[in-house]
């Protein structure tokens, strides 16, 4: 209707007083876009408070506020300016909040929240990566039971796949000492495995 007015912003401190709402809505019904903007902006905090009485999820509550605004717009011809505005708005808020909760309830019934399945869908290689991380953590836990020298030998020979000579050189030990440490480490790990897994 009025382009200059339609683009102007209404500061919250300029929000229309409640007793002016029916008159503003009447003007909005007659096509006064400025009056419509004033009344809608004034209604947002009221709608928000009423929505949050029923919906505790912030994101869902804001979705419902938007839904209420759109419903107000679609049904604005049903408002009778001779009556107070709030009962009309409250009925819309109530219906939209209940609809949102019903929709949420239905989608919760259908959804399966499994992080592994979700990550597998997004990245097919994720399952293998998760397995590797799990195995690594398990191995780290097992190696922690070994003394430092034995753990070092396991890491060099079994994990880094060094030869016995290379491991001996790296650790400045003789090859027979490396063999002995490895043997003791493996025996200890085997015993630990028997105790923990039966």
């Amino acid at each position: 209707m009025n382009d200059t007015l339609s683009s102007e912003k209404v500061a919250p401190e300029n929000a229309a007083p409640q007793d002016a709402w029916p008159a503003l809505m009447r003007r909005a019904q007659d096509g006064d876009q400025r009056a419509y903007r004033l009344v809608l902006r004034a209604l947002v905090p009221v709608v928000r408070v009423r929505v949050r009485r029923r919906i505790f999820d912030d994101a869902l509550a804001e979705d419902v506020v938007q839904d209420v605004l759109m419903t107000l717009h679609r049904l604005r011809h049903t408002y009778d300016p001779a009556l107070p505005l709030l009962p009309w708005v409250s009925a819309i808020v109530s219906a939209r909040a209940v609809d949102a909760l019903r929709r949420q309830g239905r989608s919760r019934g259908r959804e399966i929240n499994r992080d592994e399945t979700l990550s597998g869908t997004v990245d097919p290689g994720a399952a293998a990566a998760f397995d590797a991380i799990g195995a690594e953590r398990e191995l780290a836990g097992m190696l922690n039971i070994l003394p430092d020298r034995q753990r070092q030998m396991i890491e060099l020979v079994k994990l880094q796949e060094m030869t016995l000579d290379a491991a001996a050189q790296e650790s400045r030990l003789s090859v027979s000492a490396v063999k002995s440490l490895l043997h003791r480490a493996i025996t200890r790990l085997r015993e630990h495995g028997k105790q923990t897994h039966g």
Partner: protein, 209 residues
């Protein structure tokens, strides 16, 4: 907290003048002749025997017609009223009284019948008549409700279905013997309930706000 200003600006920019909805009673009085008219036209497809208006019980038939039409208009008014956000359909004392009188007339009509219980298949003509008369009324009531749409479609359509059923009963009373059997009356009620269910099934999505 989300800023809804962009949405508000969009809604305001496309806000054209709208025609305010008339009061429910005025809309109901406007739509009732349309519903009765299309219902009457549809029943021309059926064979109709006229009520005996010269007999001593013609007053009962007239009262039945008036009560049925009155209840039909009241139900339609309630449907149009509850479709407006924030309005409720108050079941007033006179509505309950009219319903009780309508039921009382039905009991009286059963009481004066030669075979009060009747036989299976006795009310098949009335059943068909009510459905044939009521079917186009469903379309009319759904059309009437589309003007406002409804936040509670099932509630609005239940009243609308009841309205179509009672208006059909009103048309039926023009071509129905004053005495009727219980099975015949059950046929009337079954057709009315079926009309209500069809109204909800057909209109639920069409009038949802």
């Amino acid at each position: 907290m989300v800023d809804h200003d962009t949405l508000i600006d969009t809604l305001c920019d496309e806000a054209a003048p709208v025609r305010r909805v008339a009061p429910a009673w005025r809309r109901a009085l406007g739509w009732t002749p349309v519903a009765l008219g299309v219902g009457w036209l549809m029943t021309q497809l059926l064979h109709r025997a006229s009520t005996d208006w010269t007999g001593p019980l013609a007053g009962v038939a007239a009262a039945n017609i008036l009560l049925s039409l009155g209840l039909g208009i009241a139900a339609l008014m309630a449907a149009l009223s509850v479709s407006v956000p924030g309005r409720v359909a108050r079941v007033s004392g006179w509505f309950v009284a009219c319903l009780a009188m309508w039921l009382g007339l039905a009991v009286y009509s059963i009481g004066i019948a030669r075979h009060p219980v009747g036989q299976l298949g006795h009310g098949s003509y009335c059943f068909t008549f009510v459905l044939v008369a009521g079917a186009p009324m469903i379309a009319v009531t759904v059309l009437a409700l589309r003007r406002t749409r409804s936040l509670h479609p099932v509630r609005s359509l239940t009243f609308a279905g009841a309205g179509a059923a009672f208006l059909s009963f009103g048309l039926l009373a023009f071509c129905h013997p004053i005495a009727m059997s219980a099975i015949d009356f059950a046929g009337h009620l079954a057709a009315g309930i079926l009309l209500g269910a069809l109204t909800i099934a057909i209109g639920r999505k069409a009038i949802a706000a």
